[in-house]
Symmetry: C2
Subunit: 196 residues, 2 copies
DNA sequence: GCCAGATAAGAACGATCGTACTATTGTGTC
DNA sequence: GACACAATAGTACGATCGTTCTTATCTGGC
């Protein structure tokens, strides 16, 4: 990898961290440059515009998310183990993981929902993919005989995702130590009532 | 009500709308002044600081929320009718209602979670109150014999709230027309499995 | 070790931010 | 209707925003 590409990746990594805490809009070229020890224009020239930076931050984070949450889960056996892994990996991603400000996608989802533009377009596409991933995992669980055949997989994906959002809020805004327990119990309940 | 108090209320109403769309941070004194047909300094003098404005926007919205979501629900008979009303009223608040950018509290919760200060403090206090309100409604439902006696009311509040967040996201980011159906089904499921 | 091109820095731009001050206009009271 | 004071406007401030353009430094292939 060339030198320029190297620093660009480093910038995106730092930007992803920062954006998960303060948001994409509040993330500023000047501040990011200072934190990276670069000049404003030096950093800027890697992206060409603030909007392009935002999109690439989302892309970078999506790649990380795939590698740490989705791919390991799909290496598990299909069915309940895979679904449970999706949840566990996501919990690690949000809490233990690099994402010091929680999940950037949760942050960006509410920040971008009323702000048209390329970042919003990317975010919407990504979230559709995420829901499809969840629904697909549920479909495989039906095939395995783990979940009941008449389960609405889109409904399942909705509820699974809702628990993640609920956890993220209770964990980060309320700092409620019981949040993880609540989320685990909610997932367990969802799985129990979806069983064959 | 004096003249100054009158315009101040009008400012807060407009600010609440705007903030629900673009966020508290992006909400700007200059832009708000322009939209209100006031001068920047004229508007500013009502609040004294940006942070104070943000807090008062949250307070204003909380008052509205109470009047449109909580109070009408608690005028319903305790138990399931009241819980169902809390959900229905919230749906109206987010979709039909004045909140053109969705629920300001959902927006502010993710925006403020990593930003210390008085707005965050107020937001946290408010959300604790909201969870307590939900748990209290569940406790009353147990007393009425509508929900089972061993129900964990805090767990119930967590899951109820999670569904609201999930709906908010699917409705506003994905613009998924099935979002309301998913949310209604999820609430129905939660109530079914909490029944006596 | 030179040289082309990649990479970064520097300086400047108009715009807008929050805030402080002063001046003007409006309102309600006697 | 004059007067005290509330309400709003005007102006200016330093800081920072995203972006452009020009200049300097670094890197890798011959």
């Amino acid at each position: 990898m060339t030198k320029g590409e190297d620093t660009k990746q480093a910038i995106l990594e730092r930007a992803s961290q920062l954006a998960s805490r303060i948001g994409l809009e509040t993330l500023t070229i000047g501040r990011l440059a200072t934190e990276m020890g670069l000049s404003k224009s030096g950093l800027f020239s890697h992206f060409g515009s603030k909007e392009a930076l935002e999109v690439q931050v989302l892309e970078f984070t999506a790649q990380d998310y795939r590698a740490k949450v989705v791919v390991p889960a799909f290496q598990m056996k299909p069915g309940l183990p895979r679904i449970q892994a999706l949840f566990d990996n996501w919990l690690d991603w949000v809490t233990i993981n690099t994402q010091e400000g929680g999940c950037l996608f949760v942050q960006a989802a509410t920040e971008l929902d009323d702000r048209p533009g390329m970042p919003r377009d990317y975010m919407e596409k990504w979230q559709q993919l995420w829901f499809e991933t969840l629904a697909e995992a549920a479909r495989r669980a039906i095939n395995e005989g783990h979940l009941r055949a008449d389960l609405d997989c889109d409904q399942f994906a909705f509820q699974f995702n809702a628990i993640l959002f609920g956890y993220h809020n209770s964990q980060r805004m309320l700092k409620d130590p019981r949040a993880e327990g609540y989320a685990r119990a909610a997932i367990a309940g969802l799985l129990a009532h979806s069983r064959a």
